[in-house]
């Protein structure tokens, strides 16, 4: 059970599509996470033991981190892992629950949509002046677009869950 699960009480989506997405995300994000750890370890050992640090380790870590964060995002949305304040929501009348989940879901989805859109524009901006990393000269724009796409997927997942809240039977 992760912190994200401990903090949230919402149920997670269980359709085949959701399961498939979860598997893809867990493999890719897991691989990136292990790569991030491995890269740091190899860099440290290289630097202190072999006197040969990994070239561009820091900037690779940075790109791995931001990709990891955005790969985790659809998973958090899918599993209802966002932190909420449930002080009042627990004591609201039951009939309002459906509407509440729908409205907060739609608004969240809208915010995610704006984020995706702005990331896309930001990617175009940094691509416009050909931003590359310092030593490896890796282009940054594709990573921004990758994040934009994942934010977009998160917006869709959140939207789907909001719509599902209207029709799903409440437990």
């Amino acid at each position: 059970m992760s912190e994200a699960d401990l903090l949230s009480e919402r149920t997670s989506a269980a359709s085949p599509l959701a399961r498939g997405l979860r598997i893809v995300l867990s493999i890719t994000a897991g691989a990136l996470l292990m790569a991030l750890m491995g890269l740091t370890v190899i860099d440290v050992i290289g630097r202190y033991v072999l006197n040969a640090p990994v070239k561009g380790a820091a900037e690779l870590s940075e790109l791995l981190l931001v990709s990891l964060v955005y790969l985790g995002l659809p998973a958090v949305c899918l599993d209802g892992g966002h932190v909420t304040v449930d002080l009042l929501t627990k004591s609201l009348p039951r009939w309002s629950e459906r509407a509440r989940l729908f409205v907060t879901g739609i608004v969240s989805s809208g915010v995610l949509g704006i984020i995706a859109w702005r990331l896309y524009a930001y990617g175009a901006q940094v691509g416009g002046y050909n931003l590359v990393t310092n030593s490896l000269r890796l282009p940054v724009a594709p990573v921004v677009w990758f994040c934009a796409v994942l934010a977009g997927i998160s917006a869709l997942v959140t939207l789907a869950l909001a719509l599902a809240a209207l029709f799903k039977r409440l437990r």
Binding site: V44, A58, S61, Y70, T89, L112
Partner: protein
């Protein structure tokens, strides 16, 4: 320009209807900023905030320390720590609860999360305390309170969060958490003794072990101790950056988990997936907080609140006590991470202007957050215990926590009176 109280009121309304905190902060940040500098520049800031802050070498500590904590949970270190502490404390009255507190402290030194510490220790310490007839209130409270040390004793995910928001050195923040953490262990031990004294039940003390047996039992602490010395020693001596030490720590914990034989491939998958999820969850709160901070800085909120706080009296101590009271009240209704992201952007410039050290303030905020984990109605660690032992009511857990909360108040008072408690170790780096 929307006046900032409207922005805050809408933010609170969004939070109360259960809108995720990350998106509430983002939305109010965007709209508030737009109301001051216009929609276009507000949107223009957004892309950079949500990408550049994620592309940060310093912040790689977050997933790596989370990963380390998750591996440590799987490694069985918690059980070994508990057995060692038990060997030293078993002959005392309430020895099992004392051992729980000590083991929580030890576990906190390799795990940066309070919820994970409480969840892990509850599976180990609770069964034995119940078997020996400890009252439910004491058994659950010692774990819930001991677990809060997770965010104070380094590594600490919350301190990383604070460090990023206030641009403070994360290594120094970590070092600053050590002494207050030890004082926390002492305080909680006193709380256990008070609870034992107040309890009508006569708690059994087990026969004392010989000195030799006790020292042999220390063997169980080796894994955690090595990991802690390696990770924190590396930061303290300036050999590792926090990122490097987090990577090495995660790898060390990975090895411990592998060699313990408890890490199956399916566990590894779960750990990686849940670490990625927690990382994303926390980063989006951070991005939201930074978007919100843009608005706070533009709105003039800081100076307005500063003058409001000065009504409590003049001078830095009046300010800090006013802030303390606000935090204790907020802590009752908000979960820790939310409280920190909502308040730190507003308070830290005020506190810095009064001449307080921001490293010290970080520890101050984290200790108060610890209190928030164990105070009703929203006490996350009490909730965790409640999910582990369904048959113990929240009321029982919270009542057992009273002496522990009292000791926390003492600790905060000490921290205010003697800032050196936090600042001595970082000043020696």
């Amino acid at each position: 320009m929307i006046e900032w109280p409207i922005g805050i009121a809408v933010l609170i309304a969004l939070l109360l209807v259960g809108m995720p905190i990350a998106f509430s902060l983002t939305l109010i940040g965007i709209i508030g900023t737009a109301s001051i500098i216009g929609l276009k520049p507000s949107f223009a800031l957004l892309g950079a905030t949500f990408f550049d802050n994620g592309r940060s070498y310093t912040l790689t500590v977050m997933p790596l320390f989370l990963l380390m904590g998750n591996f440590v949970v799987q490694s069985g270190i918690a059980r070994e720590l508990y057995d060692s502490a038990h060997a030293w404390l078993r002959h005392r009255k309430g020895g099992l609860a004392l051992a729980t507190v000590a083991a929580c402290g030890g576990f906190s030194s390799v795990c940066g999360s309070s919820l994970a510490t409480a969840a892990t220790m509850s599976k180990i310490a609770l069964p034995s305390m119940r078997r020996f007839g400890y009252p439910d209130s004491l058994a659950t409270a010692s774990i819930a309170a001991g677990g809060t040390l997770g965010i104070l004793i380094p590594p600490s995910v919350i301190l990383v969060f604070y460090g990023i928001m206030t641009q403070q050195n994360i290594g120094k923040l970590f070092m600053a958490g050590i002494l207050p953490g030890l004082i926390g262990i002492l305080g909680y031990s006193v709380a256990v003794m008070i609870s034992v004294r107040l309890s009508k039940q006569d708690l059994p003390a087990e026969p004392k072990l010989s000195l030799k047996e006790r020292f042999l039992a220390l063997k169980g602490t080796a894994g955690a101790l090595l990991l802690f010395i390696f990770v924190m020693g590396g930061i303290y001596l300036g050999i590792f950056t926090p990122t490097e030490s987090a990577g090495m720590g995660a790898f060390g914990a990975f090895l411990l988990a592998v060699f313990s034989g408890r890490l199956k491939l399916s566990d590894l998958g779960d750990i990686l997936y849940s670490t990625a999820k927690t990382t994303a969850m926390m980063f989006f709160i951070l991005f939201g907080a930074l978007t919100f901070t843009n608005y706070v800085n533009l709105s003039g909120m800081t100076s307005d609140i500063q003058s409001a706080l000065s009504m409590f009296g003049d001078g830095p101590y009046a300010t800090i006590i006013a802030i303390l009271i606000i935090y204790l009240l907020l802590g009752c209704v908000l979960e820790g991470l939310s409280m920190i992201t909502l308040t730190v952007p507003i308070f830290y410039p005020i506190v810095a202007a009064q001449g307080f050290d921001l490293i010290w303030f970080g520890i101050f905020v984290v200790v108060i957050t610890e209190v928030s984990y164990i105070t009703p109605p929203v006490g996350m660690n009490a909730f965790v215990l409640n999910t582990v032992v369904r048959d113990v009511s929240l009321r029982t857990i919270f009542s057992g926590l009273l002496p522990f909360v009292a000791m926390d108040i003492v600790r905060i008072a000490l921290l205010i009176a003697f800032p050196a408690i936090a600042l001595t170790i970082p000043s020696m780096m």
